[in-house]
Amino acid sequence: MSKFVAKKTAEAREVRKAIGEYKYGFSMPENNIFKAKKGLDLERVEEISKMKGEPLWMKNFRQNSYKIFESKEMPKWGADLSQINFEEIFYYVKPSEGQVDSWDKVPKEIKDTYDKLGIPEAEKEHLGGIKAQYESEVVYGSLLDKLKKQGILFLGMDEALKEYPELVKEYFGKLIPPTDNKFAALNSAVWSGGSFIYVPKGVKVDLPLQAYFRINSLRMGQFERTLIIVDEGAFVHYIEGCTSPIYSSDSLHAAVVEIFVKKGARCRYTTIQNWSNNVYNLVTKRAKVEEEGIMEWVDGNLGSKVTMKYPAVVLVGRKAHGEILSIAVASKGQHLDAGGKCTHLAPETTSRIISKSISLKGGRSSYRGLINIASGAKNSRSKVVCDALILDKQSRSDTYPVNKINEREVILEHEATVSKIGEEQLFYLMSRGFSEEEAEAMIVNGFIEEIVKELPMEYSVELNRLIALQMEGSVG
């Protein structure tokens, strides 16, 4: 209950009405080309491979992965996953005939969806290329001619397997094998869609490439697979966004993302995760960074029912650098278990994790992190900062940092704070004429500014807006 004198202006009511609730919660009628029966068995896995006309090695990879998935226990160390019913999920839904390069050729209800999400507009304004995935398949793709001419490959993962089978085979599953964890195994068995990017030596992609993931149907499982190779001295910024309709039954999103950053290259991977609150978001992301390479994960988690995601960097070359900037906003009914992992395998490698979490309306956020410095990684440094902001008494925040240090000559820093919004700060801003909600939003946005400023303008505005939406009604 607010301590400040209640204020119910017409303006505030208007704003509430205009914002509504979760803006992306609409669904469209299903006009699928093909929908696999719900549930999963070896037959279903083979069916997916057959439909896609894959090479034998991929078929075998899937079958093997399915067996690993079957044999692995559910992870019990993190968020509660006991409610996931693998038998009720639809593992493969093909929404259209295939990927097209013009929005006019995309089936109408799918195009309408992306129009509502503002994707074609964003594409025109500030993106170098885009992949739009709907259910299990990429339905639309584009890449600017000037980027094509530089030799940049930006393909759907299935498309890449057809056109560049050798390149895919060389890297696919090499960083995150199916044995890594139960959900990586599941993804490896039933994967569909996702992006493949190759940036040639020395090429710096000056506009971001984006992928947009949309789940539409009930109890859908989305299992995209992304592989990015940034060759020596090259640079790319890849952005992914995701949304889904609100349903009363749960959906599952289990992606695998593998990134190879070669000598002196740099990759930035930005995520704005805004699933509806009925999605289990269980994602494995890892980057291997060679000498003097830089990997930056910028990870914004706003939606989902449960998220378990810890973007990782494996620093294998001298002076390689890894960075994980993570924001989690956990509201009612959400448990966001996020963080990062940095493995230092070479001398003079550096890493930094900055995690900012906000818990409100009974939501729960956890930071889970691992710093692993191997013997021989002399003069390596790592810094971890995790700050938690808890907006009310019903909400919760936990921190689970783990350090495994097997080298003496290293510097490791760890800072952690837990705070709540102070009455004095609220009064200070309100006495300037801002409502309690506005004041609270200002404080929250200030709290995450360090990370938000790393986002392209369009996304930082969007993120601040989404957070204001989450906080709607948190006061009073």
Binding site: K3, F4, V5, A6, K7, G422, E423, E424, Q425, F427, Y428, L429, M430, S431, R432, G433, F434, S435, E436, A439, M442, I443, N445, G446, F447, I448, E449, E450
Partner: protein, 245 residues
């Protein structure tokens, strides 16, 4: 701005015991008094800080009773408090905050865009002697005491108030900074016909910001009122002079 028979409690402690003060537009009123006499309590109570409970009396702005209004609604009437200890808001970039503040206030709007606003702001900040680099930092984040006070005054200029309450704006300031701040307030007050309530221990700020009226607080009540000369007298002879006579 009128305060009549104001009684205020913090928890169980009675701090103000029937205060009477009024500030007319264009007038400068100084409130002096020893520590603990209730000067700052008056400032916070005027803006509606939730810790301060009004048990009796009335506060009015331009004839409108404000007792039941929230701090933002009081600000909406043009009341501005320059704090003794301004809060730092981490990550709330000062220049962006000031722009939001400018847009929030409906009065005196002449500037249309942030680019033009920034230009105006830089000129005013320079006049105050505020390090421009601070505008890109979080509001009051890692500011020195003096820088925070200057930021309070810069906010005041962006805000365009009708009534200003300066709560010991002069504490911890060197002479040069004090002079800049006081003259800025004076200029704004004269130009916009602003009523100013100056809470202070010292006469020195009143050299630049001449008081029309001086009110002395003792133990939650007004013990004396007078003209500008009273401030000097109080500073030279002490607050309790009357009792010592």
């Amino acid at each position: 701005m009128q305060v009549s028979n104001l009684w205020v409690k913090i928890g169980n402690k009675q701090i103000l015991k029937g205060v009477e003060v009024s500030v007319n537009p264009g007038e400068v009123v100084a409130v002096m008094g020893p520590n603990g006499s209730g000067k700052s309590t008056l400032a916070y109570t005027l803006l509606g800080h939730p810790k301060y409970e009004v048990t009796k009396g009335e506060m009015k702005v331009d004839g409108k009773k404000i007792n039941e209004l929230s701090p933002d609604e009081r600000a909406g009437l043009g009341m501005y408090l320059a704090n003794q200890y301004p809060m730092a808001i981490e990550g709330l970039v000062s220049v962006r905050f000031l722009w939001q503040l400018y847009k929030k206030r409906q009065v005196g709007k002449k500037i249309s865009g942030i680019v033009e606003f920034r230009k105006w702001l830089v000129v005013e900040a320079e006049k105050l002697g505020l390090n421009l680099e601070l505008l890109n930092r979080g509001l009051n984040e890692d500011f020195s005491g003096g820088e925070k006070k200057k930021m309070e005054i810069l906010q005041m200029m962006v805000f365009s108030p009708k009534y200003v309450i300066l709560d010991e704006i002069d504490s911890g300031l060197d002479v040069d900074a004090l002079k800049k701040i006081a003259t800025t307030v004076k200029q704004v007050a004269e130009k916009m016909n602003v009523g100013v309530l100056v809470i202070t221990h010292y006469n020195r700020i009143l050299k630049y910001l001449k008081a029309d009226k001086v009110v002395v607080f003792e133990d939650g009540k007004v013990s004396r009122t007078g003209g500008a000369s009273l401030a000097l007298e109080v500073e030279n002879k002490g607050y309790l002079q009357k009792n010592n006579e």
